[in-house]
């Protein structure tokens, strides 16, 4: 299967292409040159003016329609995604289908309006509006460059949607782990409204090409980037305009003793959060803190979690592992097995033969980074009020905490977790489906993109 994995302004048709093989799937991408890129960016800036002239209401309707069609499994673009993404991303076909459904679910009319309201730009961005004793006007970036990373489809979508809603044209540099999804999204935007489709360009090039990066970064009014801390630092140093970096993050789960009467269900929801996207996401939990004194002990919970992981491995089979990834899981297990034979109170609950999933019970309260690929550690805590302590040194990296506690304890736990640096606290089982209005990384993307001018009269 050969698929075009790019989206360019309609008048650009003269360019060389190259092929990216992913097993049975071959992606065709333009061989990007500084000249081509500069041409694309100039076109995007001009096209963006038409985007800003449109009513926000129209943009919301277009975006809603785009996602509605992508939710439909008979839609040709959706079908392309379903067929090609397993080979490209390494996720199993069932995971791709499930992930796409989950992804599209949050992008609905109401959430787009909420996003605009929260940013204070309910009205169109084409004039000064009263604010307290003066007037203010928001300006969107003319052009936002999105530097994407990783293999999880949809990681860049909040930024793309925010930029489009704000009235900014977008240049997307796709990740080697998934050059296709953003191109399909842009194609579906063009299909819905060709004029708005002209405001988005999607390209892939091999990372580390300084001449291309210089054009992409310097020609934009804002840069939204995803990737490692090192990449973030490197990009930030080269961006003169607004830089919104999303480094790699870690998440965790917290379970109160009172919900362990229904431990099976909690384990099922916990296992779902771990298994989704094979634990590759920044919202994927690395470990679960389980309070002592409940209907089942934390160690018994770990065993139940193992059984639930087995069920999810059947429903949403894990993707393929490289030898290096498999070796990393063996090494992770071996370190705990060594502790077990040294008579530490360690328990391992493992897929009977392979590496489909790994649950470890470890009484050490230190927060543990998992080697991922459905490997999770359960740790006991005497009382949930103590859960913030082990997290403190992880503050710069903390993302979400999935929690299962009685309603009257939620606020106490949220205070402890928020103080520790967690920026999203949600029910276990919902960790991978954040609302569009979430303050990702503790910030508000759409508002961060805008620039305001105050007029005092």
């Amino acid at each position: 299967m050969r698929i075009a994995a790019y989206h360019l302004p309609s008048h650009i048709s003269q360019f060389e292409t190259e092929l990216l093989p992913f097993g049975d799937v071959t992606l065709e991408v333009p061989r990007v040159t500084p000249t081509l890129l500069a041409d694309v960016m100039q076109h995007l800036e001009t096209a963006g003016e038409r985007l800003r002239k449109r009513k926000r209401r129209e943009i919301v309707e277009i975006l809603s329609a785009v996602f509605a069609r992508l939710r439909d499994r008979t839609d040709p673009l959706r079908q392309t995604a379903e067929e090609a993404l397993p080979a490209i991303t390494g996720f199993s076909p069932a995971m791709v289908v499930h992930g796409l459904d989950l992804l599209c679910k949050g992008y609905v009319t109401d959430s787009f309006y909420e996003l605009l309201q929260d940013a204070g730009v309910e009205e169109d961005l084409n004039g000064f509006v009263p604010r307290r004793s003066h007037l203010s006007r928001a300006y969107a970036p003319a052009l936002t460059t999105h530097v994407l990373a990783g293999n999880i489809p949809g990681v860049g979508l909040p930024g793309l949607v925010a930029a489009t809603l704000a009235g900014s044209a977008s240049l997307v540099k796709t990740a080697s782990g998934d050059p296709l999804s953003p191109a399909l999204w842009a194609a579906s935007l063009s299909r819905q409204d060709p004029e708005i489709g002209e405001c988005v360009a999607v390209l892939w090039w091999r990372g580390g090409q300084a001449d291309l990066e210089a054009v992409a970064l310097e020609g934009a009014d804002a840069v939204i980037a995803y990737g490692s801390e090192k990449t973030m630092r490197d990009l930030q140093g080269r961006v003169r305009s607004r830089f919104l970096g999303h480094g790699h993050r870690v998440s965790l789960g917290v379970i109160g003793r009172e919900v362990l009467v229904g431990a099976d269900e909690v384990a099922e929801q916990s296992a779902y959060d771990v298994s989704l996207f094979d634990q590759q996401g920044c919202l994927s939990p690395h470990c679960f803190y389980v309070e002592e004194g409940g209907a089942v002990s934390p160690k018994e919970f770990a065993e139940l979690l193992g059984s639930a992981m087995a069920k999810w491995a059947e429903r949403l089979p894990p993707g393929s592992l490289t030898r290096g990834e498999a070796a990393a899981i063996r090494k992770f297990r071996a370190a705990y097995e060594a502790q077990r034979i040294a008579q530490k109170d360690i328990a391992l609950f493992l897929h009977p033969r392979g590496l489909d999933w790994t649950v470890i019970f470890d009484p050490d309260p230190t927060f543990t980074l998992s080697c991922l690929h459905r490997t999770v550690v359960v740790k006991p805590v005497p009382d949930l009020s103590e859960v913030g302590g082990p997290l403190r040194s992880w503050r710069p990296y903390l993302q979400a905490a999935g929690v299962a506690v009685a309603p009257e304890r939620t606020r106490m736990l949220a205070n402890a977790l928020g103080q520790a640096g967690v920026n999203r606290i949600c029910p276990i089982g919902k960790m991978q489906a954040p609302p569009l209005t979430w303050y990702q990384d503790g910030r508000f993307l759409l508002r961060d993109l805008l620039r305001w001018t105050d007029l005092e009269v």
């Binding site: 990783g150 782990g177 590759q280 070796a327 071996a334 060594a338 040294a342």
Partner: protein
């Protein structure tokens, strides 16, 4: 009084044909299961006892990580070797106790003689590593001292002091043997040899070591300032020391194992076979290359995790699962390095990124 099974292992190492690896492996396993409580816990955790298995491949292999946490000895050790320092601090060093050092020595000497001295030579040994007085718990220092005492010719000596490598002394000795046309055997870590080669290149020193001179290096360059390929290192040995490639032997050993592995090239050259370089496995050891995903044997040439079954480890655990990657070739294997960590695929922080941060 040594156990009968240990005597039988000794007989196998000494080449007595009534003993075989296959014939002894399960008995050694049963012995270790009985005598090493941590190993018994390990096997019980996997649901394996001497009664449940019928082939040596089913013997549970202990990860090297376990040597850091627990004493696996089957009897009180005559000697405990400790792995060299790591960034994780002294408490994270692996310890390996040998209740019967004679087994270690027999394995070492039989193997060393076969692969480093196949021509029966007894050359002067120039050793580029600390002597056991400096590093009493180092298995490498112990091993080099045993071969020096057993096989070393007149003038064999260490070129390593409190200040590190004694380059001046080494260069002086090399000039001396060059003048007297006496073949030598250089022994040391790859890192030490790298240093010698670098200094010689910088000072424009070249040696033409007498014919029959040989070199055994061990270990890699992980975490060192400079990493070079094996081929490049062999080329440099030729350029600086004039030792032909077939007289340069890499040794692969680890504190967790009683036996070592050597390149077969010198032995094959002496036997008149065209040398194809790989690590040969002695008759009292089996090495498997396992797919980390399934723990099944990989076909020749495919890279996987090395797991060794070493009867010279009869005093602790014979089956050791390493973190080393290698592939099967001929009657042996070749090592390609440590298992790399997993790269980030998605947007989650990974152990590799976290450990690699400045």
């Amino acid at each position: 009084m040594r156990e009968p099974v240990v005597e039988r292992v000794l007989r196998l190492i000494r080449g007595m044909t009534e003993e075989t690896f296959e014939g002894l492996a399960l008995e050694v396993f049963a012995f270790q299961y009985q005598r090493s409580p941590p190993y018994r816990r390990f096997c019980d955790g996997r649901g394996i006892t001497p009664d449940t298995i019928t082939a040596w491949e089913q013997i549970p292999a202990v990860p090297t990580a376990a040597f850091k946490l627990v004493d696996l000895s089957c009897a009180s050790p005559e000697q405990v070797f400790v792995t060299s320092g790591t960034s994780q601090g002294p408490e994270q060093r692996g310890k390996h106790g040998f209740p019967w050092l004679e087994v270690y020595h027999r394995s070492l000497l039989a193997n060393f003689a076969a692969y480093i001295l196949p021509d029966g030579a007894r050359p002067r040994m120039l050793i580029l590593a600390p002597c056991p007085d400096m590093l009493p718990t180092s298995s490498l220092s112990h091993m080099l001292e045993v071969v020096r005492q057993t096989y070393g010719g007149d003038g064999s000596a260490y070129y390593f002091g409190d200040a590190g490598l004694d380059l001046t002394g080494l260069i002086q000795s090399l000039r001396e043997v060059e003048a007297h046309r006496l073949p030598v055997c250089l022994l040391g870590t790859s890192f030490a040899f790298m240093h010698v080669v670098d200094v010689c290149l910088e000072e424009d020193q070249r040696f033409t070591l007498p014919e029959g001179s040989r070199l055994m290096d061990t270990g890699g360059f992980k975490g060192r300032s400079r990493e070079i390929s094996r081929d490049e290192l062999l080329r440099l040995y030729g350029e600086v020391l004039r030792i032909p490639e077939s007289f340069c032997i890499n040794e692969y050993g680890m504190t967790e194992m009683g036996s070592q592995f050597y390149d077969n090239v010198l032995r094959d050259t002496v036997l008149g076979c065209p040398p194809v370089r790989f690590k040969e496995v002695p008759p009292w050891v089996r090495t498997r290359v396992l797919d980390p995903a399934t723990l099944e044997d990989l076909p020749e040439g495919e890279v996987g995790l090395l797991t060794h079954y070493d009867l010279a480890n009869c005093g602790s655990v014979m089956a050791v699962e390493t973190e080393d990657l290698g592939y099967k070739i001929g009657e042996g294997f070749e090592i390609v390095g440590r298992a790399p960590g997993a790269e980030a695929r998605g947007c989650s922080l990974t152990v590799e990124e976290f450990q690699g941060r400045p």
